[in-house]
């Protein structure tokens, strides 16, 4: 068991300082014994009593000298500390890459927090003002999420997340719940921010589509000259279940709007049409979700026994298939291995209930 060092009473450095005036030859055991280490004195009786509990009173090893590099590092830290004490004003970053360069040839950009890692870039985050703006546009003006996403060039999922978080924040304000605002402010002040003004660059791309691996192959498909070969035909050529890009993108209404503008329609009219179509598509989606929930509810019988509510869901037992092993079958299956404890399988739940 290693010796325990209690409090500050048994610091080797202090003891070494105490020993310093003695010549080196006095480090022999007989001379060391002559030092009144353990004799209680009137002035420091409490400290000496606690030092006597130490199993090893002092070390004769000289303290390691700080290396040249370490000394220079300390010097550098002391000289440059004032630069990094406060974050920069106006949404600019204050990373160490501001003054540090890996070499004279490679420039380090200001969005690179670690000068040696050019692949780590700190991306812009939405400022408080930008998030408030998004919330107002959605909740007060009642614009559809797709239109807000297209207006500010912020991904639809991010718009939805901002609105959800803002709603919670406003509810907490009403309920007088404490919020860690100084902490949030300190973190945001250190990061590059986007205010979503007209002069800024687009925040992020909003209409990216997932590239299915089937569509990366080279195909030779004979098509007659008289027939129009569309994106939908191309998707069908790649595979039966491959969707055309128009069906895969998040805001296909934008494509329609651009087509209308290219066809000579007034941009304002085209935009109004786009907002209308976006609102309609969101309305349809909500109606579909509602219908799905209602259908699920219709399959369910609720019986309240006072203590628990028993929810009986109807299902068709004949879905098990001819062998009884269909994946859509209900319950634990017979004669099938269970993968839930298999090594190497990811067991992180995909949904939180």
């Amino acid at each position: 068991m290693p010796p325990r060092i209690r409090g500050g009473s048994c610091q080797p450095q202090l003891l070494l300082n105490f020993l310093e005036p003695l010549p080196s030859s006095s480090l022999s055991p007989s001379a060391a014994l002559a030092i009144p280490l353990h004799r209680p004195t009137a002035s420091s009786s409490s400290s000496s009593s606690s030092s006597s509990q130490c199993s090893r009173a002092f070390s004769t090893t000289p303290a390691p000298q700080a290396s040249r590099l370490r000394r220079k590092f300390k010097e550098w830290c002391e000289n440059n500390a004032p630069l990094f004490r406060e974050p920069n004003e106006g949404g600019r970053t204050n990373y160490v890459s501001r003054i540090l360069k890996t070499s004279d040839f490679n420039d380090v950009t200001p969005d690179q927090p670690f000068p040696n890692n050019p692949h780590f870039r700190s991306e812009k985050v939405l400022s408080e003002r930008a998030r408030e703006k998004i919330w107002e546009t959605v909740m007060e003006k009642g614009m559809p999420l797709k239109a807000v996403s297209a207006q500010y060039h912020v991904d639809m999922r991010r718009v939805a997340a901002v609105v959800r978080m803002k709603q919670i924040e406003k509810r907490w304000e009403r309920e007088n719940k404490p919020m860690a605002l100084p902490y949030a402010r300190a973190i945001v002040d250190m990061l590059p921010r986007a205010n979503l003004t007209i002069h800024e660059k687009p925040f992020e791309s909003i209409n990216d589509i997932h590239v299915h691996s089937y569509t990366t192959q080279q195909l030779f498909v004979p098509a007659s000259e008289s027939r129009e070969f569309t994106r939908a035909d191309a998707a069908k050529a790649f595979g039966d279940r491959i969707l055309p890009p128009d069906a895969k993108m998040r805001i296909p209404e934008l494509v329609e709007m651009e087509k209308e503008i290219a066809g000579g329609m007034d941009p304002h009219t085209a935009r109004a049409g786009f907002v209308k179509r976006a609102a309609q598509s969101e309305h349809d989606f909500a109606a579909k979700q509602k219908a799905r929930l209602q259908a699920a509810e219709a399959r369910r019988t609720r019986v309240d026994t006072g203590r628990f509510e028993f929810r009986f869901e109807k299902f068709n037992a004949e879905d098990v298939g001819p062998t009884g092993r269909s994946r859509s079958a209900v319950g634990w299956r017979y004669g099938m291995p269970l993968m839930d404890r298999k090594r190497g399988a990811v067991k992180i739940p995909t949904s939180v209930e």
Binding site: F310, R311, F312, E313, N316, A317, G324, A329, G331, W332
Partner: protein, 115 residues
């Protein structure tokens, strides 16, 4: 041979999960049954965004098959009888003792109506 509607325990230690099965009475609990007509998760759960603390239990049941098997003489176990009586497939076997004697709340409600 007697055909029973009963539960077959699956799941893990301390996390039971039951298949509602139709099986011959003399077969082992987890043998392959004649038919799986549902599942019963006995662990009470909360709704995701519900803060009221109400708990529910999820049961999946093929009502048509359950009625069929009852019709041809399958015998439910006591637990299954209780579950099947909740959805009205069988009459309740064990009634709560409180309902036979008039409770204070039952007495109070007619008085409230008169007043």
């Amino acid at each position: 041979m007697v055909v029973k509607i009963r539960l077959a325990r699956f799941g893990r230690t301390n996390s039971p999960f039951y298949n509602i099965v139709v099986a011959h009475a003399r077969t082992a609990r987890n043998n392959r049954p004649l038919e799986v007509i549902g599942t019963y998760d006995p662990i009470p759960k909360k709704d995701t965004y519900d803060n009221s603390g109400r708990l529910h239990k999820d049961i999946k049941l093929d009502m048509t098959r359950a009625k069929y098997w009852i019709g041809v003489g399958a015998q439910p176990t006591d637990t299954m009888w209780r579950l099947l009586s909740m959805v009205g497939i069988l009459p309740p076997k064990y009634r709560p003792a409180a309902s036979s004697t008039p409770t204070p709340s039952a007495n109070a409600s007619p008085q409230a109506d008169q007043a």
